[in-house]
């Protein structure tokens, strides 16, 4: 047994205090799609007000893990999740938890922009309306405006809020989807390859936005782009065929990873 000196304990506690609090936590998460197992005992902490990037080759289970965090896997009949996932210490798969409330707290932005075939205004107002967040039209207008501003879209659309959201460009649509997610004031925002359908300029805008959003939200982002992970995230988790290979500060992961597979992936040797 290794007995720590008092000083060492002190040091550890100090380090723990500097680390942001854990917002969400996955403990031995297994996911099966029918007979096929897609995740194997994943343990991962998501820290508050940080951007956590999930990287790894296609099909390694990044999206699957992400979709466990707001129980989007519930909408897939054959998906089965076991293990424990907590939000502020509460088990999100507890039968007492209302999945509708959970998803209001843990929002999501998808790979392909998916605005509703409604006006820009209605797209953003959708969430506040169904959750009854506002008492009158003025308050709703306020939420729509502030959400669009936070999503850095307001200036581009303020004169055409009544036009269809599907008529925007791809990058604008994706920022509209982010605004839509922000409008219900979530605590965590999950993003599944939010830039993969966007051109470089739109991507830069969304990345900039993610960096700003970190101040108020906890963000988990799946990305295929190593540069993007390096640019926007503070922590990075590397997945490989259903296993979490390694997790740590982004800087360390990209300069001095512990695992050979991480190194190979980052240097482009596979994936």
């Amino acid at each position: 047994m290794n007995i720590m000196t008092e000083a060492a304990v002190e040091q550890k506690v100090q380090a723990g205090l500097n680390e942001p609090a854990v917002k969400m936590k996955g403990e031995s998460v297994d996911v099966h799609y029918g007979e096929k197992q897609a995740l194997f005992g994943v343990n991962l902490d998501i820290r508050e007000n940080q951007v956590t990037a999930l990287i790894g080759p296609s099909g390694c289970g990044k999206s699957t893990f992400l979709r466990c965090l707001n129980r989007m896997n519930d909408t897939i009949d054959i998906a089965r999740v076991s293990g424990k996932i907590t939000l502020d210490g509460e088990d999100v798969y507890d039968p007492k938890i209302d999945v509708v409330e959970l998803r209001a707290r843990v929002g999501m932005v998808f790979q392909k922009p998916n605005p509703f075939p409604k006006s820009i205004y209605e797209n953003v107002a959708y969430g506040p309306r169904i959750h009854g967040l506002t008492k009158n039209r003025a308050e709703l207008d306020g939420i729509v405006e502030s959400s669009l501003k936070k999503a850095a879209l307001w200036n581009e659309v303020k004169d055409r809020l009544n036009e269809s959201g599907t008529g925007l460009s791809g990058g604008q649509q994706q920022r509209l989807c982010i605004a839509r997610a922000i409008a219900v004031s979530p605590e965590v925002i999950l993003m599944d390859e939010p830039c993969s359908a966007l051109d470089p300029i739109a991507t830069a805008k969304v990345e900039e936005l993610i960096d700003e959003l970190r101040e108020n939200y906890t963000i988990v982002i799946v990305t295929h782009s190593m540069q993007q992970a390096a640019r926007v995230s503070q922590r990075t988790a590397m997945f490989h065929i259903g296993y979490l290979v390694e997790e740590g500060a982004t800087e360390k992961m990209f300069t001095n990873p512990d695992d050979k597979r991480t190194q190979d992936y980052i240097t482009g040797r596979f994936g």
């Binding site: 509708v100 998803r103 209001a104 929002g107 392909k112 509703f116 969430g127 599907t166």
Partner: protein, 456 residues
């Protein structure tokens, strides 16, 4: 005779195809430069040259030979110039009947002579036809095969022929429709020459059973279509009241809630419902539903007829459920999964997602389906003939009987009919009105359906 000729042409075209393909394949071409077309195209091209001109000629010949022969026979009939058009028709049909061997009375010498003339013309005609077809086939085959050269663009010319053929096929449907509309309009105009259009369009009384022959006893008659149209819309409205909610709700349940097994059982069942002949629905309406409706009406103290608008409309509604349900089903299925997920991810429940996202997104498709169903309801005949009434009444009581446009058309045309009488001609005017209504509904429906297709 003509049948053999068609067979002969097909055979000749087949042979030409083989010869052409063989010639296209022969070393003579391939050796020098790259051939333009593959041998199969040379073969097809030769076959087209061989078969098509002869085929078209034969069709035209068959189409016109009888009228030409009739004209010649009548032309040489003594004293035919003084005959009127219908007398000529009578005469020629008598001559043809005698020629075919069915003799009702001893033919006059003139008729016998005309029959001999007819027979000789017919024989001449078939020999001429045979000769021309054989010549066309021979010349076509010769030209078609001779045309095969290394750089001969057989691919393009085959392509062009196929395009022409497709255009012709699409014209068949259009021309037939035009013909139907024209004949309908023609008869309807005959009607309006006898009954003023204003009376027909705005009249509130419909009593068409007037005397056709002088010896019949009947009423004065009135041809106001409003009560009949009213009946059609009353029955259709009842039908839609049954079909729209049931159809849409079943579509929502099937696409959004039902599990795979339930869907696998119920969807084919719905399709069976769509395949039941309307006359069977008619039995059901008249034998089962109408008595039920009547006793229901009487038990709550409402005047109830044995055949009620409710019975006919209700059963028609059931007939239309699969219609609306399957078109709504398509409309829901066309909404991408990503949009549903977007709504769920915002914390919307299934019901909210359906009401606020899916229904608005699918609405144009659903409206299109509803309009198509409505146009079916307006034109539906069998159920109402069996289960609705005959007397035109304007009543809002669904337990009373009403009559519809289609029922009236049927009753006007069965029994004694004479085509210079307003009673019979009224059927065509009603038919025209029905046609215009359903055409309008279909146009609007197709438009809305198309609009929603463009959205994603």
């Amino acid at each position: 005779m003509a049948g053999y000729l068609f067979g002969f042409m097909a055979l000749a075209a087949f042979v030409a195809a083989f010869l052409g393909a063989a010639r296209g394949r022969s070393k003579r071409f391939a050796a020098t430069e790259k051939t333009h077309s593959r041998p199969i195209y040379h073969g097809l091209n030769a076959a087209i040259w061989t078969g098509v001109p002869a085929f078209v000629f034969l069709l035209l010949w068959l189409l016109f030979q009888n009228s030409v022969i009739d004209m010649l026979v009548i032309g040489s009939y003594p004293g035919a110039d003084s005959l009127s058009g219908s007398e000529k028709n009578l005469l020629i049909s008598e001559i043809r009947q005698v020629a075919a061997g069915s003799v009702f009375r001893e033919p006059t010498p003139e008729i016998t002579a005309a029959v001999a003339h007819l027979k000789s013309l017919q024989a001449l005609s078939s020999w001429a036809m045979l000769a021309v077809v054989a010549a066309l086939v021979a010349v076509g085959a010769f030209l078609g095969i001779r045309a095969i050269q290394t750089r001969y663009p057989a691919r393009h010319s085959v392509e062009r022929s196929v395009t022409w053929f497709m255009m012709f096929s699409s014209l068949v449907a259009i021309l037939t429709t035009a013909g139907i509309v024209l004949s309908l309009v023609y008869e309807a105009l005959q009607f309006f020459a006898r009954v003023p259009a204003t009376e027909f369009l705005f009249g509130l009384r419909w009593e068409p059973q007037i005397a056709i022959r002088a010896d019949q006893v009947a009423g004065q008659g009135a041809f106001g279509m409003i009560p009949v149209l009213f009946g059609t819309f009353a029955v259709s409205a009842l039908a839609m009241a049954v079909a729209i909610p049931t159809g849409i709700l079943s579509a929502i349940y099937l696409t959004e809630y039902a599990n795979e097994r339930f869907r696998a059982v119920v969807k084919p069942l719905l399709e069976i419902l769509a395949g039941i002949p309307t006359i069977v629905y008619g039995f059901f309406a008249v034998l089962t539903v109408a008595p039920l409706v009547r006793s229901l009406g009487l038990s709550i103290g409402i005047d109830s007829a044995p055949n009620s608008a409710l019975a006919a409309g209700g059963v028609m509604g059931i007939m239309l459920i699969p219609f609306i349900s399957s078109l709504s089903d398509d409309a829901f299925a066309a909404v991408p999964r990503a949009i549903r997920e977007g709504s769920f991810a915002l914390g919307a429940t299934k019901g909210e997602t359906i009401r606020k996202v899916l229904l608005p997104a699918a609405l144009p498709g659903i409206v299109g389906g509803v309009l198509l169903a409505l146009s079916r309801a307006v034109g539906e005949t069998m159920i109402v003939v069996m289960a609705a009434g005959l007397i035109a009444k304007m009543t809002l009581n669904p337990f009373e009987s009403v009559t519809t446009v289609t029922v009236q058309i049927v009753t006007l045309l069965i029994g004694d009919s004479e085509f210079d009488n307003p009673k019979t001609l009224a059927a065509f005017a009603l038919g025209l009105v029905l046609f215009i209504i359903t055409l309008g509904l279909n146009l609007i429906a197709l438009r809305t359906v198309r609009k929603y297709r463009e959205k994603y």
